[in-house]
């Protein structure tokens, strides 16, 4: 149990630092930056205290906001995906989720891909809607959402498979 707490704390700090020091300086093609910190929300243990989880996600977004001077945009996006996560866990993993037995390292790639894709897309859409904050620029919002989501998805899949130990 303590091990799990430690893993999540270090994941929290590590992902925020990785986000603000490295990922936000990539600026691929001028504006595409991956939001790798959502991996914390995606990989948070399924059997959890929901109130704590939602609050932690808020804190995660807020700390990223603090570094990036983006108001509360990241906080709003991550607290939303934290709240709606159970719905998409059920959708992607089906019966396994009902028994709270989902271990992300043991799920197969397609299920994980769908689960990541949906949540990352929702997160990025909320994020860029709030960042651009102009209903006349819907096309711009979708463009940013699409490209950044793809980038984030790729990095999330790579990172999650890099750090998953299949033996345990």
């Amino acid at each position: 149990m303590n091990n799990l707490v430690f893993i999540n704390i270090s994941r929290f700090v590590g992902l925020v630092l990785l986000q603000v020091i490295v990922c936000n300086n990539i600026n691929f093609l001028g504006y595409i930056n991956p939001n790798i910190y959502v991996l914390f929300v995606l990989l948070y243990p399924v059997a959890n205290n929901r109130l704590l989880f939602i609050f932690l996600s808020f804190l995660l977004g807020l700390s990223v906001d603090m570094f990036l001077d983006s108001g509360g945009t990241h906080a709003a996006a991550s607290v939303t995906i934290a709240y709606i996560r159970p719905l998409f866990l059920k959708f992607s993993f089906g019966a396994v989720y009902e028994y709270h037995a989902v271990k992300f390292s043991k799920t197969d790639l397609t299920q994980r891909l769908i689960y990541f894709l949906i949540l990352i897309f929702i997160h990025h859409f909320i994020l860029f809607s709030l960042v651009v904050f102009d209903q006349n620029e819907l096309l711009l919002i979708f463009k940013h959402t699409f490209y950044s989501s793809m980038f984030t998805l790729l990095l999330c899949l790579l990172l999650s498979s890099l750090f998953s130990n299949k033996e345990t």
């Binding site: 603000v20 001077d69 108001g71 509360g72 709030l130 960042v131």
Partner: protein, 268 residues
């Protein structure tokens, strides 16, 4: 009352979610208004020191380019010094109202519509809000928040940014703003259609505000068109500064700002 409490306890997850979401949304809305984002900003002690620690590593990547820029600037300054005798002495009285302070950029962004920079100078170095920030090539932005050791700059690549500028050739002034699209192009508005302008004309700061001294380069005209009512120009300006790659900047401090402010108050 009992029922109300029961309702909250039953839906506590949803209530917490709504509470946090509205917190985040109100912060977002505040951040879209100039000078309102009071709580969450990157010029505090924690974020500043973390950016500072990693800046020690990343600054090595740009050493070559920075060296070249400094050399260019040096040579320009040398030319000024060599020709110093020819300049009228009366100028120095005016120039001395501005002090320059060099600073390093800890964080820079240009990919979103509201961009800010974080600098490693703060109140301890007598930096105040409304001080201007420039490089040897052109303007960068205006200080908008300070802490003890760090300060935040409202970049000219921010949709809330407004800077008073003028056309160097004709002295007609207008307001520089940004539409949030390309980090190389900003927009100059409020120039009357009577003015003769041409592609390639230089735009400089007007000196009407106390933030920037007059005649600091901004950019050159890339293209222009009339606005919907056809009485004012909307001019695309190509910036002289490469806003995507900033390392050393200067903070311009106006030493007369208190006197100027006192004058303005008595006018009203």
């Amino acid at each position: 009352m009992q029922q109300l409490f029961n309702f909250f306890i039953r839906n506590k997850t949803f209530v917490l979610f709504l509470l946090l979401l509205s917190c985040a949304l109100s912060l977002t809305i505040r951040s879209h208004e100039y000078h309102r984002s009071k709580f969450i900003h990157s010029s505090n002690q924690i974020t500043g020191s973390i950016y500072g620690a990693f800046h020690g590593i990343t600054q090595y990547f740009n050493l070559k380019k920075e060296n070249k820029l400094l050399l260019e600037e040096n040579s320009q300054l040398k030319i000024l010094v060599f020709n110093r005798e020819n300049l009228a002495k009366t100028d120095s009285l005016l120039e001395s109202t501005y002090n320059l302070l060099s600073s390093q950029v800890y964080k820079n962004s240009f990919a979103v519509p509201n961009n800010y920079l974080t600098l490693n100078k703060g109140q301890n170095d007598l930096i105040k809000e409304e001080d201007g920030v420039i490089t040897s090539k052109g303007i960068v932005g205006i200080i908008d928040k300070t802490s003890k050791n760090y300060s935040r700059v409202l970049s000219i690549l921010n949709t809330n940014s407004r800077v008073n500028v003028k056309l160097k050739k004709t002295n007609h002034f207008g307001i520089l703003s940004w539409d949030g699209k390309s980090p190389e192009i900003t927009q100059l508005k409020d120039v009357q259609d009577l003015v003769k302008i041409a592609v390639g004309d230089t735009v400089v700061t007007s000196g009407y505000s106390s933030t920037f001294p007059a005649n600091i380069p901004v950019g050159s005209i890339k293209s222009y068109r009339l606005n919907d009512t056809e009485d004012l120009y909307i001019i695309d300006i190509k910036l002289f500064n490469d806003m995507t790659n900033l390392e050393h900047v200067y903070i311009v401090k106006n030493t007369d700002i208190n006197e100027l402010k006192a004058l303005n108050i008595s006018d009203e």
